[in-house]
């Protein structure tokens, strides 16, 4: 194997594929990156047996071949090399890769490529999505997925295709995020699956603005594949049934408030400083104005029994009943962080009912937070 690549390209794609590698993999070869020549490209792959990432970069291939190199040493070295051409030459008998770049000559010992588990990415994509839409959909849902393993199904993002609508949802038992989008393709037969949140985060990272991402839906091996230009991610779907979340989203509300996203976020962050000591519980106080059109009083209160308290007013208009409702303020901050619209709508049916947030004039993103009490 004799191959030349540009340092820049190699460093970038290593940064993408090595994210599939676990910190302490069960097999030594799983901490390595697989390098294979493919026509005039170099193919890099890494896997943790659940998620596999492959990336291609342009290369001058003099002699075909394959090897696996320890990911950490390899990427650390490549990251520090100068922005020049890297010439690599494999000594197959010792599994040692000789790398020359500028003034630097390096030998890295690897493991035979045959020991690397086979990586099977899905075949043709079933449908395509705009990269920026996919990225936004993931970012607006994935944070709500559970991090604790006590209900494994909740550590994933639910994905559903029905007619021309793509739905993504995530929930951790205390909050729920649901985002929908229209697709060019139509699926007459409903298809749904749950993809690990970790995979979704990686997919969001590779999504760019001006790209199409192909999706190959799980078939017999229950794996989903996302294909971006020069990068492919394949992941096992989670087994199990995602809870039915439609019933959790209320349809009518006693109180509806409209607030400024960044303003509310700032007030929430201040409340959080004090709410920390109190299981992050902060209270939102909504006092609708007497006459429609006048500004309402909306306060976010954070209290600590020991350190003090803070109260911040958010600009708002409100309709309906006055409301005093407590939330885990972190949940509120999390969702406000992923809303780009200038204004958000907050709705609820009282202190013992969930609070619902959505961007103004949009029906495709809904976030539900369960209240707290004392």
């Amino acid at each position: 194997m004799i191959v030349s690549v540009l340092q820049e390209n190699l460093a970038k794609s290593l940064g993408i594929v090595t994210r599939a590698i676990e910190s302490s993999p069960p097999l030594p070869v799983l901490s390595n990156v697989l390098l294979e020549t493919e026509d005039s490209r170099l193919k890099l792959s890494a896997t943790n047996l659940e998620v596999s990432i492959t990336a291609w970069i342009g290369a001058k291939v003099e002699q075909a071949g394959s090897i696996t190199l320890p990911a950490r040493t390899f990427s650390e070295l490549v990251g520090t090399l100068s922005r020049e051409r890297i010439d690599m030459k494999l000594d197959a008998s010792t599994h040692t890769m000789e790398m020359r770049c500028g003034v630097q000559t390096t030998n890295i010992r690897g493991i035979d490529a045959d020991e690397f588990p086979p990586i099977n990415h899905g075949p043709e994509a079933d449908f395509h999505l705009a990269g920026d839409t996919l990225k936004e959909m993931i970012n607006q849902t994935v944070f709500a997925a559970a991090t604790e393993m006590n209900r494994p199904i909740l550590t994933g993002v639910y994905v559903k295709l029905e007619d021309t609508t793509l739905t993504m949802a995530a929930a951790d038992g205390y909050r729920l995020a649901v985002r929908t989008s229209e697709m060019a393709n139509s699926f007459d037969e409903k298809q749904d699956m749950v993809i690990p949140a970790r995979t979704m985060n990686e997919v969001a990272r590779i999504c760019g603005d001006d790209m199409e991402v192909g999706v190959c839906l799980p078939k017999e091996r229950n794996a989903i594949t996302f294909t971006a230009p020069n990068v492919v991610i394949t992941s096992q779907a989670l087994d199990g049934r995602f809870p039915d979340f439609a019933a959790i989203i209320p349809r009518s509300f006693a109180t509806t408030t409209m607030l400024y996203t960044s303003d509310l976020l700032a007030v929430c962050r201040r409340a959080e400083i004090f709410a920390r000591d109190n299981a992050n519980s902060s209270t939102m106080v909504v006092r609708p104005a007497d006459n429609p059109g006048e500004p309402a009083d909306v306060m976010i209160v954070g209290k600590s029994a020991e350190r003090g308290d803070t109260e911040g007013a958010a600009q708002a208009t409100a309709e309906g009943e006055p409301l005093d409702i407590s939330f885990n303020i972190k949940y509120l901050i999390d969702v406000l962080n992923v809303i780009k619209e200038e204004r958000v709508i907050f709705q609820s049916n009282g202190p013992e009912n969930p609070g619902v947030l959505k961007p103004e004039e949009r029906e495709d993103f809904v976030h539900v937070i369960m209240p707290m009490s004392k």
Binding site: G173, N328, M372
Partner: protein, 578 residues
């Protein structure tokens, strides 16, 4: 065989078996006699665990010459005259069996002189048969020497334990009486070596320090609670010492009781003490205590058992409550003034790890002498916001984690290993206590209620204790047979399977009094950081920083130790540096 009345010596030996079952019981009887004889010094000497020799000398009143033969007769006593007096016994002995019983199963010699008499008397007994009597010169008091105990009851002899066991038993008999009578100077010699000595100063603290050890004594608090007599209630006076929660043992054997100066074993009283530590010590950890109860003589029946080790109270509940309250009170006070009690400063004797000496001031140093540099940096608080609670541990610097279970930290006086699970459990429990006191726990509603199934037995208990769970913030609904739905959960449970936590709490409630306190202990245990969990440095720092100001940082509510302190001296010794 026709029925016949037993011969005297047979009766004596049978009776001896009741009161005198081992050398320690003989010592007990003889010490009681000495105390009843108003001795101020009691000297006990043993050889071969008391098997060969037991000698108890006292400086009490002694026995009159004319009474001495009678003293060795069964049911001969100077302490009781009629049955009515039994209900108001103020002396330790009264059954009139001790001397007769001992003499029946050994070779005994008594040398005694009554205070009012000029001449003493020596008298020998051999297996209950009176031997020679001769007048001797002797100091006032009695010296009773028992040789070859049980020589004529081989069965009893065979059942004796090893010398060491018997020695320990004797030690505890002596220690108990020394505790009960701090004004009497006791001395115990085993095979010629002094094993124990009390000063007879009258200060209980002196004796407690001797019996439990000086190091342990530092972690013990005086108990003093006189129950004011109320309508229909008897005044129970409780005095003594009880350990701080950080000092504990794996068994109950250092919980010692005296009722009106008599050492007694009473499981109810022991339980009262253990209960007082509920939430401070847990399974398998028991406090140390020596408590003296004073009750009116007619309130207690000591004539239950030949060795008088058991007593019966007219109203067990009153005594139970008095003991529990007395101990609880001092524990509460101790927790409140934890900062004062805890001496976390470097131990005297220069145990501190000194700051490495600054490099010798070179000329460059002298030039660079900046007024800002000389500002003592340690005056800046280690955290921008220190909570208001007083410190109970020195400032600790987290160094790392060992075995995914222990946080390694360094303090001014050595190394600390913090059990992450136990420490977090303690902090969560403290948090729960605070929240419960502040009107309730933060409760998080659940979006999509999760059902969980319990074992039928657990389900029944959950239904009975629903009130406790509601107080802790569980809003549960019955969903089907043995199946429940959680509508809201305590916020601190966030992310944990409610079914598991509830099952854990139920487990504890089943074995203990079902109270909110008890459930809180279990909830803290079920939600604490587990062993085996790898922690980030800032997580460890936060945990340790909070522990530093925790009122009771040394043990988890379930009783596990939270930290081990390895002093600088220990480290130096380990590396053979001085």
């Amino acid at each position: 065989m026709p029925i016949a009345i037993l011969a005297d010596e047979v009766v004596d030996r049978i009776a001896a078996g009741e009161a005198i079952e081992r050398p320690a019981s003989a010592v007990k009887e003889l010490i009681e006699n000495a105390i009843d004889a108003a001795a101020t010094a009691v000297h006990i000497e043993t050889a071969a665990g008391g098997r060969k020799l037991l000698r108890v000398s006292d400086n009490g009143t002694g026995i009159r010459r004319c009474e001495i033969e009678l003293a060795f007769k069964r049911h001969a006593t100077s302490k009781l005259r009629c049955a009515d007096e039994l209900s108001a016994i103020r002396t330790l002995g009264f059954r009139g069996e001790a001397l007769a019983s001992i003499a029946a199963v050994s070779q005994a010699t008594i040398v005694t002189r009554h205070r009012d008499e000029k001449m003493g008397l020596r008298m020998q007994w051999d297996g209950g048969v009176m031997g020679r009597q001769q007048p001797v010169g002797a100091p006032a008091g009695s010296v009773i020497t028992i040789e070859n105990l049980f020589f004529n009851t081989p069965a009893r002899l065979k059942f004796l334990k090893t010398d060491n066991t018997e020695k320990r038993q004797i030690y505890w008999v002596v220690a108990r009486y020394a505790l009960a009578y701090p004004q009497i100077a006791f001395a115990l010699l085993n095979d010629g070596r002094e094993r124990f000595r009390s000063s007879g100063s009258g200060q209980l603290a002196d004796v407690v320090a001797r019996v439990f050890g000086l190091k342990e004594f530092k972690h013990m608090l005086p108990v003093q609670a006189a129950e004011p007599p109320r309508m229909g209630r008897v005044a129970v006076d409780v005095r003594g010492y009880a350990s701080l929660p950080r000092l504990h043992r794996a068994s109950r054997d250092r919980i010692i009781f005296f009722v009106n100066g008599r050492a007694v074993q009473d499981s109810t009283l022991t339980h009262a003490v253990v209960q007082a530590y509920d939430g401070l010590l847990g399974a398998g950890a028991f406090p140390l205590a020596a408590l003296m109860l004073s009750v009116p003589p007619d309130f207690v029946d000591v004539n239950v058992h030949p060795t008088k080790a058991e007593v019966r109270f007219r109203d067990q509940q009153t005594v139970f409550r008095a003991v529990q309250r007395a101990v609880r009170t001092i524990l509460h006070e101790a927790a409140e003034s934890a900062a004062d009690v805890e001496s976390w400063a470097a131990p005297s004797g220069g145990g501190t790890i000194r700051e490495a000496p600054r490099p010798a001031a070179s000329w460059r140093h002298a030039l660079a002498e900046d007024p800002f540099d000389s500002y003592p940096h340690d005056r800046i608080p280690e955290r921008a916001e220190a909570p208001m609670q007083p410190r109970t541990l020195p400032p600790l610097r987290v160094l790392g984690q060992a075995g995914a279970a222990y946080i390694i930290a360094e303090g001014p006086a050595g190394l600390y290993l913090v059990d992450q699970n136990a420490a977090h459990e303690r902090l969560l429990y403290q948090q729960l206590q605070r929240d419960l006191g502040n009107g309730g726990l933060p409760i998080q509603a659940v979006a999509e209620s999760q059902s969980f199934v319990l074992a039928p037995e657990d389900a029944a208990l959950l239904t009975d204790t629903a009130q406790i769970f509601a107080q802790l913030g569980f809003e549960l609904e019955v969903f089907g047979p043995n199946t429940f739905l959680a509508r809201s959960l305590p916020a601190m449970l966030c992310g944990q399977a409610p079914g598991d936590v509830i099952a854990h709490i139920l487990n504890r409630l089943r074995d203990n009094d079902p109270t909110v306190q008890c459930a809180a202990v279990a909830m803290a245990a079920a939600t604490a950081i587990k062993r085996g969990q790898i922690l980030q440095t800032d997580e460890m720092r936060a945990l340790v920083a909070e522990l530093e100001r925790c009122p009771e940082p040394h043990s988890a509510p379930s009783g596990n130790k939270t930290l081990v302190h390895i002093t600088s001296e220990q480290l130096s010794a380990e590396f053979r540096r001085s």
